[in-house]
């Protein structure tokens, strides 16, 4: 009996931290796509968005057709990147590949411009000007035209497959593909003469590369603007990820005034507003959102700052007779001021924006200075690596160079070659034997690089150390302007 008697203090039953595997299947490995049916809305932000759309698309499609006369033999397209002949044209500016740093500066200018705009007004770029936003907006407009607004589209997608549904879908995708093809085609025109390449594409005479890139950009436009849409912003784009680093509490962002909106709830006409918030929980702000979020949850990664929810809410506030801008473009600091009943303050000038503006100004002035003082003549003097110098039978020294004349003008030029800073030096260029006493005349062919083999001979005594800086000069025979270029003359170690 004693053996079977329970212990005076029974040991606690161990509790395992175990759950059936079925309950563990809470987390899905992959997220299903939630279709977003953005509702059409009218209002101030919609107007800005439409204006941006029309303006930017007009620039994109029309710029390749602008002409700019550069004289005979040169392309007359105002904006052209001519890959085969290694030239980029922008109106009066012509860039050679070695001047690609202008593009670097331009990209830096773009980056800091983006930083400045974001620190002032939030994701203005994302909401209004990003190509992904512009083309998605255009595709949504086409979609509404063919399939109707939000409710009609939801109904259509749920309806069984009928002839009418197929016709609408085919019309929509057909229209999308046409726009996409025009987009891809316009892209090609920045790299080819627009009228020529358009004719060639239409008559089947264009190169494989043209058709390939046309097809590639058609496909990406169709997929990104028609199908991927907000997925690009939420999953592919890095910009939403670091926007937080550019915002501070004085940045204007799309904001829900929760302090006067909550507690939200449906509101019957004529009922009292006491003890409740202004938000009538109509969810119009969610319905119009192109990325399908609820701005009342606060600033979030998916918000592209387009302000359409502001338009939607203002409509509703006007209808229920409450003050506008329950959803508003405001700063975090102003929200706190408003909550305290103080007047809002606009603080655009802050250390952050000043720094960005100064960088932009420096970069912009740098680019302008660079372009306005850009020399049309450049010379590369490449000293031979082997042999560094040659000792001659009279004891003198000779150095070999490759002389490249970069004539960025479209007229041929003739230069007289000279040398400075080397006593007793004589010059000779392979293939050029001037009459005695005459200078060596070198031609700089128009808009290209002309190469010459140059030998400089000097008495050994003229070279003080193993390496002496010298200057070569090119005198333009047309206007006698002299350009000087530095190089070295080498001799034995001393």
């Amino acid at each position: 009996m004693n053996d079977l008697a329970p212990a005076a203090t029974p040991a606690p039953v161990p509790v395992e931290d175990a759950v059936s595997f079925k309950q563990q299947k809470d987390t899905k490995l992959y997220a299903e796509r939630v279709r977003i049916y953005a509702k059409a809305i009218k209002g101030r932000f919609r107007q800005i968005k439409t204006a941006a759309l029309v303006g930017l698309l007009a620039i994109y499609y029309l710029v390749p057709w602008l002409r700019w006369d550069r004289g005979p033999g040169a392309p007359d397209q105002a904006v052209l990147i001519d890959m085969p002949s290694r030239r980029a044209y922008f109106f009066w500016i012509e860039i050679w590949p070695q001047e690609i740093y202008y593009l670097t500066f331009l990209l830096m200018l773009g980056a800091f411009g983006l930083f400045l705009v974001t620190s002032i007004g939030g994701r203005v770029w994302c909401g209004f000007t990003c190509p992904q936003t512009v083309w998605t907006d255009l595709f949504m407009w086409v979609e509404r035209l063919i399939e109707g607004d939000r409710a009609a589209r939801i109904r259509l997608d749920k309806s069984p497959l009928t002839g009418g549904k197929v016709a609408r879908k085919v019309a929509k995708h057909g229209a999308w593909l046409l726009i996409a093809a025009a987009t891809g085609g316009a892209w090609i025109m920045y790299f080819n003469d627009a009228p020529t390449v358009t004719w060639n594409i239409l008559t089947g005479q264009a190169s494989f590369a043209v058709y390939f890139f046309c097809g590639l950009f058609t496909a990406t436009t169709y997929l990104l603007a028609g199908w991927a849409r907000e997925q690009v912003c939420t999953y592919m784009c890095p910009w939403p990820r670091f926007q937080a680093a550019l915002l501070d509490n004085e940045s204007y962002v799309v904001t829900y005034e929760s302090w006067r909106g909550e507690p939200r709830g449906a509101h019957k006409k004529g009922a009292s507003w006491d003890g409740r918030g202004d938000c009538v929980a109509c969810n119009q702000c969610v319905a119009v959102c192109p990325t399908g979020i609820d701005i009342r949850d606060g600033l979030q990664l998916e918000c592209i700052g387009c302000g359409l929810c502001i338009d939607a809410c203002n409509d509703v506030m006007a209808k229920v007779g409450r003050p506008a801008n329950l959803i508003t473009l405001d700063t975090e600091a102003n929200q706190q001021r408003r909550q305290r009943g103080e007047a809002p303050v606009m603080r655009i000038v802050r250390p952050r924006t000043i720094i960005y503006a100064v960088i932009i100004a420096v970069l912009g002035i740098g680019i302008l200075l660079g372009l306005s003082t850009r020399a049309t003549l450049d010379v590369n003097v490449l000293h031979d690596r082997n042999p560094l110098f040659v000792r001659l039978s009279d004891g003198g020294l000779r150095n070999g160079y490759t002389l490249k004349i970069l004539n960025k003008d479209r007229v041929a030029k003739t230069f007289a070659l000279g040398i400075e800073d080397l006593a007793g030096a004589t010059l000779s260029v392979i293939g050029h034997e001037p009459a005695p006493g005459q200078p060596i005349l070198l031609e700089g062919r128009p808009d290209t690089v002309t190469s010459y083999r140059l030998y400089v001979t000097a008495p050994a005594a003229a070279v003080a150390s193993h390496q002496q800086p010298i200057q070569l000069s090119l005198t333009d025979q047309a206007d006698q302007t002299v350009a000087r270029f530095e190089t070295v003359f080498r001799g034995p170690e001393r």
Binding site: T27, A228, Y235, D384, N386, P387, V390, S393
Partner: protein
């Protein structure tokens, strides 16, 4: 084994259960389409296997239905490049080296093509840019053993030096160690040094001058300036193939070194030799 899926209190998202210093990683699921792009890339690979060479076998490999072959592509492109150069080669074949040197277009082609041929065939001894090294003469200076005119250079490249070819340039400096007494060789050396402007024993040099006139002048000339027809070097300039120091000169008199150069006409076509000739002529020393 995770026991229970934990939800993040703030976002309501599941966590992975991993925690670092109190920070828990959210388990945000990947979108489905992302998975589909992965499937699409697998499909791409399968299509690639069918179209292009891919799987290795024991006696070969799957060739792919497009018949792509990079080695054949290379041959094809080389043939295209050759065809593009053919017009130049035709003109080179009928032009003399002097004519090539006068024609700016052919000269440009010869300088570029000649450099390639030189780097492949000649630079091993004469070094890049004809800088010369060790016992191989510098081609970029103005001192020539066998002549620096276009014709002389072409002749030397075609048939070479002391290589047994019947048209090869040939000379043979006798080994004076078997002809002259050691003291006489010292005297001649003093004289040769004096020719180059190096002061030595004037008395010995005077004795050496008589010996030089007797033994050396027939090739190197009375004034020691050499004779290019004989390939006899100029002894009065500061350029010395086998060294300018006294022991080196003595050694060369006692038992001369006789350099050899291959006959390139047995290896290269005439057009390439013309390219080489024009290129070597352009290195700085061409006459």
């Amino acid at each position: 084994m995770p026991t229970k899926v934990e939800k993040d209190a703030f976002t309501g998202t599941d966590t992975t259960g991993h925690e670092w210093d109190g920070i828990k990683e959210l388990n945000t699921p990947l979108p489905k389409w992302w998975l589909y792009t992965f499937y699409a890339s697998i499909l791409f690979a399968v299509v690639w296997w069918v179209l292009y060479p891919s799987w290795p076998g024991i006696n070969g490999y799957a060739k792919g239905v497009l018949g792509s072959n990079q080695r054949l592509d290379l041959d094809h492109r080389m043939a295209e490049a050759k065809a593009a150069q053919a017009t130049y080669y035709d003109r080179l074949a009928s032009a003399s080296v002097a004519e090539i040197n006068q024609d700016p277009e052919l000269l440009n082609f010869a300088l570029v093509g000649g450099q390639v041929a030189f780097n492949e065939n000649c630079a091993g001894c004469h070094a890049l840019g004809g800088a010369g090294q060790s016992i191989y003469p510098t081609l970029a200076d103005d001192d020539w053993l066998w002549g620096g005119t276009l014709e002389a250079i072409e002749q030397t490249i075609n048939y070479g030096i002391r290589n047994g070819h019947e048209q090869a340039r040939f000379n043979e400096m006798p080994a004076f160690g078997e002809i002259l007494e050691p003291a006489q060789i010292e005297d001649v050396t003093d004289y040769v040094l004096s020719l180059g402007g190096t002061s030595g024993n004037a008395e010995a040099a005077a004795r050496g001058q008589a010996l030089f006139a007797e033994n050396c002048a027939s090739c190197h000339g009375d004034d020691g300036k050499g004779l290019q027809d004989m390939g006899a070097p100029n002894l009065t300039d500061p350029i010395w193939l086998y060294g300018s120091q006294r022991p080196q000169i003595v050694a060369q008199i006692v038992k001369p070194r006789q350099g050899v150069m291959p006959a390139w006409s047995t290896r290269l076509d005439p057009a390439t030799i013309k390219l080489l000739t024009v290129y070597v002529h352009s290195l700085g020393g061409g006459q």
